[in-house]
Symmetry: C2
Subunit: 245 residues, 2 copies
């Protein structure tokens, strides 16, 4: 296990450019910086290799400059959207990386469950808050969630992205959307066959995901919930559970 000094970023993987497969930036080429470590343990987590401390030896403690150089290398120096994900990237010191990239015209999107708020959220270009519904087995701390919005100061483009497995999750998504009526909402059918952390090419129930997608589209339409977007994880449909694409 590598020890991490305060200014170092714990990195699980950096890859791309590939397209963002989810939510507001769907289809946009992006370089992913996936950090290691998470304060949650969702039942259907699809990034356990970046969450479970069993895989800690694969994570690297990197300086801001080293992460930045890797992003530059992958993007060939062309400004690109950088997606900060995890694990929970909010528990890493990413403010310096964002400042460094902005100097060169790069943009930054953060995906987090909203359990940990940081000052540097205000520097982001896009903030994707992804509160976890009941099927995750987690409880949402709405005060922490509100703090994320407060610290972002309304500067990044901010959206809610909510994974939906079943009726209870749908009700949760409805309530979350009602709590933040000014935030655009993205609903995402749950990938109920996430890859185990040690097998990145595990089989995937595409038909099951599409079936849940159809259910969700019909449900939102019947409910006249006509502002929420419903989007599957495109990368899962295109590449399956394969990692690093």
């Amino acid at each position: 296990m590598t020890s991490v000094r305060p200014a170092e970023i714990r990195v699980s993987e950096i890859f791309g450019p590939t397209i963002q497969g989810e939510g507001i930036l769907i289809g946009l080429p992006t370089v992913f910086v996936r950090t290691g470590g998470c304060d949650y343990r969702c039942s259907w987590c699809d990034s356990l290799h970046a969450v479970d401390s069993e895989y800690r030896e694969d994570w690297r403690a990197m300086s801001t400059e080293d992460v930045w150089q890797e992003v530059v290398r992958l993007s060939g120096g062309s400004p690109v959207m950088v997606t900060l994900s995890g694990g929970n990237p909010a528990i890493q010191p990413l403010g310096g990386l964002i400042d460094r990239g902005h100097e060169e015209g790069y943009r930054f999107a953060l995906e987090t469950q909203g359990s940990v708020a940081r000052d540097w959220f205000a520097e982001l270009d896009v903030l994707v808050l992804s509160p976890k519904p009941p099927s995750s087995g987690m409880e949402t701390d709405w005060e922490a969630f509100d703090a994320c919005l407060r610290l972002s100061k309304g500067r990044p483009q901010t959206v809610l992205k909510i994974v939906v497995l079943d009726e209870a999750d749908y009700a949760y998504a409805r309530a979350a959307a009602a709590r933040y009526p000014h935030l655009p909402v993205y609903l995402q059918p749950c990938n109920h066959t996430p890859p185990p952390p040690d097998a990145d090419d595990a089989p995937i129930d595409v038909e099951g995901i599409l079936e849940r997608m159809r259910w969700l589209v019909d449900k939102a339409a019947e409910d006249r919930w006509l502002e929420a977007r419903v989007l599957p994880q495109l990368h899962v449909l295109i590449w399956g559970n394969k990692r690093g694409v």
Copy 2:
């Protein structure tokens, strides 16, 4: 065959709400108003039932008010994004429908190849210009295309959406994007197995579409074309070639 008086709209089908499967509004619930008739005949047209005059007897000449009432019925009176597509909806008198819907808080997106420009483009909320690449067999009239942009007066959110089948199409998309550097670009792998107009449940080569999608993602990334979004037709992946969903 129905005769159409000037103020009437030639309608092929009205359906929804279902999600928009393509481009900038991907995932958003929408009611589709598909008009009948097109000044193009693209080789891979996926809407021949709304293009080929052989299917004219299925089209209805409807008044603006009748179209509007059908939209209201389908949406249950809840304001929704209405997508005007075809065929080429630009050859229909749709200005009155847009005004009528705006009074009630509905929004309107138009999808057109950009061969016919109309004053009422300036009233749209979203204008999707979809110039057709070489594989379509059509020639782009860039003067007509420019007129579409001019008449829209910069008011609707305007994007380019370009279908890509092969290298020549990709080069065309690159050139079109360079011609309009201020317009966001959406690239869409071509569905090379479009439904024949009289069989709405025809088999579809999903793996072929995904293969073209992966090729397009890699190509744009290698080229460092990092602003264009690459998105498949989601409805084709979810529902196949089925109509009315």
